[in-house]
Structures are given as structure tokens and as C-alpha cells.
Amino acid sequence: MTTIVDIQRIRIRLPALTLRVLLYIVVLVGAVVFAIPFVWMVRTAIMPPWQIYLFPPQWIPERIELHNFAEPFKAWPFGRWYMNSALLVVLNATGTVLSGSLAGFTLARLRFPGRDFFFLVILATMMLPGQVRLIPTYLLFTRLHWVNTFMPLFVPAWFGPAFDIFLLRQFFMTIHRELDDAARIDGCGYFGLYWRIALPLSLPALGVVAIFNFTFNWNDFMGPLIYLGDVRKYTVALGLRLLQGQLYTDLQAVMSAAVLSLLPVLIVFFLAQRHFVQGIVITGVKG
């Protein structure tokens, strides 16, 4: 009896095992392909120049030249750009978290005529391409003398961006109402419900909004391109464009600058990876 069972087991297991090995090979090869561009970028940034252009391509630097990372700060106001980007990112994230959570809370928790209509409008604006309003918005900001300032790049975030309202509304829907009722009985007003109950309970979701906002604004190119003229007001993303002319003459410096510009996003990503995943789950699946 036992021998027969064993043979059957082996028969079943063999193809399963090969499948398993195959699975790991596919996943590994895919991961290598996905990772290679990053590896290539870093190796170009730290490799001695003569080695960069060798054929076949060299992967191991002869010696590591970290001084390249100082180049962008010497040749361009890179530190200044960094500060500008950081300032914009903080202003955007703060505004988005506050205004998005207030509107999201309202749509999830309060009852009033037209609420579902407002929600539908917000959903619809999520799908609007920003370019349709680009030119009139530009004219508006010109009239306000906001061009070549940071105002156009962060003020709209303080008025409830649709995507973030949607995300936070979805999250607030999952919080139980019993707490609300208890707080009401204790004399808590609507603003208290938002500020003292909903916000503290949704710190993870607020983190998600802040992080998404951070990566989006750090990478944003078109906004700064349109509104910022003065080189000293540039963001990192916009400043990188100036380096493009040197791409093939000074690859090391350009790739070092690219690595430096990605660094904050990568650090935040690794610190808050779980939040990224969670945010995507909230928006993508419950939507």
C-alpha cells in the first residue's frame, strides 16, 4: 500500500517541483531585468570615466569615485533646488492632508442634501486631464502675479485634490460609527469628530496620502516647467533638465545628479513601503 502511495506522490510532486523551480527562475530573471537600469545608473555614477565607455560593458568599477556626487553642487545650485523641492513637497503634503481629509470626512460621515452628487463630481474630476485647464489656470496665476513664484505649485493642494478626497473618504467609510456616537453624547461637535476622532484614527491613511503626494510632487516636471523661470527657484526635477546638455560629455556628473535626485524618494519608499502598498489597496480595490 504505502509504496503505491509514495509512487503517486512522486508522480504528482515531480511536475509540481519543476513548475516551482520554473516559477522562481521567471521571477528572478524578471527582477534582474527590472533592477538593471538602477544598477547601471549607479555604476555609471561611481565609475572612473575611462571605464564607462568600454565594450563589453563593465559592471565592477575599478575604483569607486564618490567625488562625482559633489559635482552637481559645484556646477549648479543643486542644494538650492533640493531645498525648493523639499519646501514644495512639504507645503503640498500638508495642504493635501488637511483639505483632503476634511472633505473626505464630510463625504463619509455627514448627511446633507447633494452629498452623493458632490461625491460623483469629485470622482469625475479624478478622470479629468489637467491639460484642459492648463491655459486658463496659467492666465489666472499670471493675473495674480504668481508666475515665477511657488504659489501655483502648492496653493491648489490646499483646496482638496480629488484623488486624495476619494482615498480618504474610502478610508473613513471603514471606521465604525460607534465612536462618533459616543463622542457626540460627550458633547463633541462636528469639527471635534473630525479633528479628535477621525484624524487620529486614520493616521495610516493620512500617511498614505502624504507619501503619494510627496512622490508625485518630487517627480513633477510640467508644473515647475511652466511656472518657474528663475534658475534659483527651480526644483530638482526641473534643474535636472539643464544637465541634459552634458549627458554624453559628462555622464558621471549627470548620473550622479540623477541618483541624488532619486534618493529622497527611494529613502521614503523604503521607510514607508507598507504605506505605499496599503494606499494602493485602499484606492484600487475598494474603489
Partner: protein
């Protein structure tokens, strides 16, 4: 603008002062509108207002400095029938979208299914696949410029190793757009995460029942996994398509729309006409044309949902 904000505030404060005479539902409603006020103001000033305004501007020939002249539907006729560059930009954008969205969806779904097979180190794999989608923009465009470099860039060097003479990528009229598509597919990781979450949401009881009924792995995938994922697929495809119609940074940085306008996308064309050419009327008309295309596509996708999207709750 501050005047607009203060007014409702004082109004509600006044109302709130007479709290006792207000019915609770009315109070809740007033607070609701008050809390929505930032969004309403933003919607009027940054979304609805500019949209209507751009519709108006698209009927004029104007640079907002020297001349402003009413031209009616002139720009729309122009972009539909006369301006071959506008047509080219639209076709290029459609080409990009038509290949990028299916390719990245299939890749994202396949990766999600692979990573969902109880694989070891799932977190590590997930991170590697997801990372490229976090870092978009200029730095990545510069990186891919270097990767695509025809003589000494990595991609052609690797191709040469296996005996293939690589194309000239972004410098070739034929390969420039595929180059941008490949680069975009590299960033499919966020869609993969959404599919992974969707896969986890499928009740295992369904698979167990199917297995008892004798369904093989392929049949289970086709008859359970795919139908249960259709809402997620719809969401992904719609959002991805909307995003892909707005492709700009890569084309601006890497090719500038060339060679021979092979990568001139709609948004790049709008940018050129509006911000480089000061033809604000025409740029607005182009933006509206793009909007109509996107809207049309989204409506078709959402309307078609009832034929192929399976909602477990119904």
C-alpha cells in the same frame, strides 16, 4: 478670494449661535457645506472655471498680448481637417496608449499572479518590481536616454552580445515610440500591486469548491481568478489609459517630439502651441480635443463594464 471664504463662515457662525432653533438635520447639512467649502472654492477656481474658460478661449485667436479675435470653430476645423501635425500628435498618442496599456496590464497581472503563488521573499520581489513606478520623471528619462544610446548604451551592447544589431532607438523614427512604450511598461509596478491586492481578496473557498468539482489550475484561473479580478482590471485600465493619453515628460526630455515628430504627443503639442508659440486659442482647442478623446474612451470602458465586469455582490 478671502471674501468668498469668510462669508459662509460668518453665516454658519451666526446660525450656530442660534443652535437650539435649528433642526439637527439642517445643522448637519450646514456644517457639511461649510466643511466642503475649500473643495467647492477649489473646484470653482481651479477646475470648473478654468475648464469653461478654456472652452471660451478655444473660440478665439489670441496671444493675450497683442491681439484677440473671435474665430468660432476655426481651430476645431483646423485640428480636424487641416493641421496634419495635430492629427499626427493624436495618432502618436493613441499608438502609445494602444500598446502601452495592454502590455503593461498583461505584465502587471502576470507578475501579480506569479508573486501570489506562495513564493518565498515575496516582499523583496514586490519591492524590486514596484520600485521603477515610484521614480518617474526627469531622472528616469535621463537614465533611459543613456540606456538607449545607440553605440555604447547598455541595451544595444547587450543585444550585440547575443549577435543582434540593435536599432537606433529614440533616434529612429520607427523605434522612438516603442522606446517610450518599453520604458513605460518598466513602470507597471503600481498596477501589479493593485492586482496583488485584488488576488488576495478572492475567497479561497471558491478555489476549494472548484477543485472539488475537478477544475484544473488553468480552468480555475480562467473561471475564478479572471472574473473576480474584472473590477480591478477595469479600474486599472481606465486610470492607466487616462494617464497614458497625457504622456509628456519622457517625450519632452528624451526626444523633444522627434525624430520627424514620431513622438510628438498631444500634451507636448499643446505645450508647444500654448507656451512656446503663444497660440492660446489653438492650444485650448487641442486640449479640449484631447479631453473629448479621453472622456469618450472612459465612457466606453465604463459603459461596457456591464458586459464583462463581474461584481460579486450582485
Amino acid at each position: 478670494m478671502s471674501g468668498v471664504r469668510v462669508e459662509p463662515l460668518t453665516f454658519v457662525q451666526r446660525v450656530a449661535g442660534r443652535e437650539r432653533v435649528l433642526k439637527p438635520w439642517l445643522r448637519e447639512a450646514l456644517v457639511g457645506y461649510l466643511f466642503l467649502m475649500p473643495w467647492i472654492i477649489g473646484f470653482l477656481f481651479f477646475i470648473a472655471g478654468p475648464m469653461l474658460c478654456s472652452l471660451g478661449v478655444s473660440l478665439f485667436s489670441t496671444d493675450f498680448m497683442t491681439k484677440t479675435e473671435f474665430v468660432g470653430l476655426y481651430w476645431y476645423k483646423g485640428l480636424l481637417f487641416v493641421d496634419s501635425l495635430a492629427r499626427k500628435a493624436l495618432l502618436n498618442t493613441a499608438y502609445y496608449s494602444f500598446f502601452m496599456v495592454p502590455l503593461s496590464s498583461i505584465l502587471a497581472l502576470s507578475l501579480a499572479v506569479l508573486l501570489n503563488q506562495g513564493i518565498k521573499l515575496q516582499g523583496l520581489w514586490r519591492t524590486i518590481y514596484y520600485l521603477p513606478s515610484v521614480v518617474s520623471g526627469v531622472a528616469i528619462s535621463l537614465l533611459w536616454l543613456w540606456l538607449y544610446q545607440p553605440e555604447i548604451g547598455l541595451i544595444n551592447a547587450l543585444l550585440l552580445k547575443v549577435g543582434i544589431m540593435g536599432p537606433r532607438w529614440i533616434y529612429s523614427e520607427r523605434w522612438a515610440m516603442p522606446s517610450l512604450i518599453i520604458m513605460a511598461v518598466w513602470g507597471s509596478g503600481s498596477a501589479m500591486l493593485i492586482y496583488l491586492a485584488g488576488l488576495r481578496g478572492i475567497p479561497t473557498a471558491l478555489y476549494e469548491a472548484a477543485e472539488l468539482d475537478g477544475a484544473g489550475p488553468f480552468s480555475r484561473f480562467w473561471n475564478i481568478t479572471i472574473p473576480m479580478l474584472t473590477p480591478t482590471i477595469l479600474f486599472n485600465v481606465v486610470m492607466n489609459t487616462i494617464g497614458s493619453f497625457q504622456v509628456f515628460t519622457q517625450a519632452y526630455i528624451m526626444t523633444g517630439g522627434g525624430p520627424n515628430n514620431a513622438t510628438l504627443t498631444m500634451v507636448l503639442y499643446i505645450y508647444r502651441k500654448g507656451f512656446q508659440g503663444s497660440q492660446f486659442g489653438y492650444a485650448s482647442a487641442l486640449a479640449w480635443a484631447l479631453f473629448v478623446v479621453i472622456l469618450g474612451f472612459s465612457l466606453v470602458a465604463i459603459r461596457s463594464a456591464r458586459y464583462w465586469v463581474f461584481y460579486a455582490g450582485e
